[in-house]
Homo-oligomer: 243 residues x 2
């Protein structure tokens, strides 16, 4: 067990991004159509290899996001999901991918003619259920990303990242309902959200109107951890292991 003249195997590092957003009260994820082999023509998460040996991994994530989806990364909340490195997950060789989760407010479809023309928002539902096939192990990554988002909604102010800078309480409720996939009582939701100090704060004296009574506008407050947490309704007590 002394030091043999041995050198560890070199592998390629990639980043993959799970960008979630809300469209039509449903949770969507950003996908791109692959232009090259392997999985050419298939849907995949935006991502790619490190540019050079000196590039920081989160920087690479932001760069790929910019390149592949023309998304303004500066206002985006980015969080590492984990490393995915199963041998054989990429037919080109040993690739370890570091996955990131990001949350974006509702955005228009990527415009045709731009360099992001092959990017599009797809409902996560079809992916989780397996109806829509993704390249590589990206279905697993999406699954983990959605679960992370669901969990973080309980204890952090992540939900506000789905909204514009100002939002109404019912808009915030729609975030919770879409991500958790449940219906919530508006009155209890209102009370609970207001009861968490620093979660949301009133934004200006102004209001917004569409049909009924105008709603107050709020913005994200200073507190990122929620006390008390917003517990999601018991999803019928399903048992679960780790991954």
């Amino acid at each position: 067990m002394s030091d043999e003249p041995w050198s560890p195997p070199a592998v390629l590092i990639a980043v993959d991004l799970v960008i979630l957003t809300l469209r039509a009260a449903e949770l969507h994820v950003l996908l791109v159509e692959r232009g090259i082999e392997p999985y050419e023509g298939a849907q995949a998460l935006p991502g790619g290899f490190l540019n050079n040996a000196g590039e920081d991994i989160p920087d690479a994530a932001r760069r790929e996001l910019q390149e592949e989806a023309s998304l303004d990364t500066s206002r985006l909340h980015l969080e590492q999901l984990g490393a995915y490195g199963l041998p054989g997950r990429d037919p080109r060789g040993r690739v370890v991918s570091v996955a990131y989760l990001a949350i974006a407010p509702g955005l228009p479809d990527p415009a045709a003619g731009t360099d992001a023309a092959d990017a599009s928002w797809k409902p996560v539902e079809g992916i989780l259920s397996g109806h829509r096939k993704l390249a590589f192990d990206h279905r697993q990554i999406v699954t983990d990303g959605v679960e992370r988002a669901r969990s973080k909604l309980e204890h952090s102010a992540l939900a506000t990242a789905f909204c514009d800078r100002t939002f109404t309480i019912s808009e915030l409720q729609q975030v919770y309902e879409a991500v958790w996939g449940v219906r919530l009582d508006p009155r209890n939701f209102y009370r609970k959200v207001q009861g968490v100090p620093g979660f949301i704060v009133p934004a200006g004296p102004d209001r917004r109107s569409t049909k009924g009574r105008p709603a107050r506008l709020f913005q994200a407050g200073p507190r990122n951890v929620l006390h008390p947490p917003l517990i999601r309704p018991d999803s019928s007590t399903t048992n679960e292991g780790d991954r």
Copy 2:
């Protein structure tokens, strides 16, 4: 932006392990003294490089654990913490390390004379506070691992992994107190733990005795997710961002 004849940089993949255990009612982590440069002689997490390009990363983690600490990995709960790949974290070049968290029941000190003679349990306290310096970015990894353990104690049956196969409720309470760093009311703890269906189940009609009234023995139940969760006492409402 077409495909240039460019190839992505290759990096080295390492694994690092945060093995937590309880000793004398205090949370300890397994450290090894490094025998080679860089950081020769310094304390570090057990870990090392992938053996070959075909080795699965969790397998590498188990192998390193076996090699460096002679720990029986088969009964160990292993969970990925994340990837640590900051450029410059390893002076030998670009290394991305995948960190794992594992929980072990109380174990004796590694015996001298074995291949794990340079391994030892150290209190996490001194590491978190910065009094004990670790190699590389291992202090950060330990910090993340401890925080993960603290969080998982709330929602999963992870605490039982700190105990032997059978344990008493007060032993289980000591786990929570040590990991969370708080004192809990034995009566309320007893009631809450018993109120979570499937968390712990009675183990045989037998009892154990030391001084006072003999305690009932339990073992880990079938349920891994806790309903309702065991909320840790408000740590004075400190605000926190992500990492």
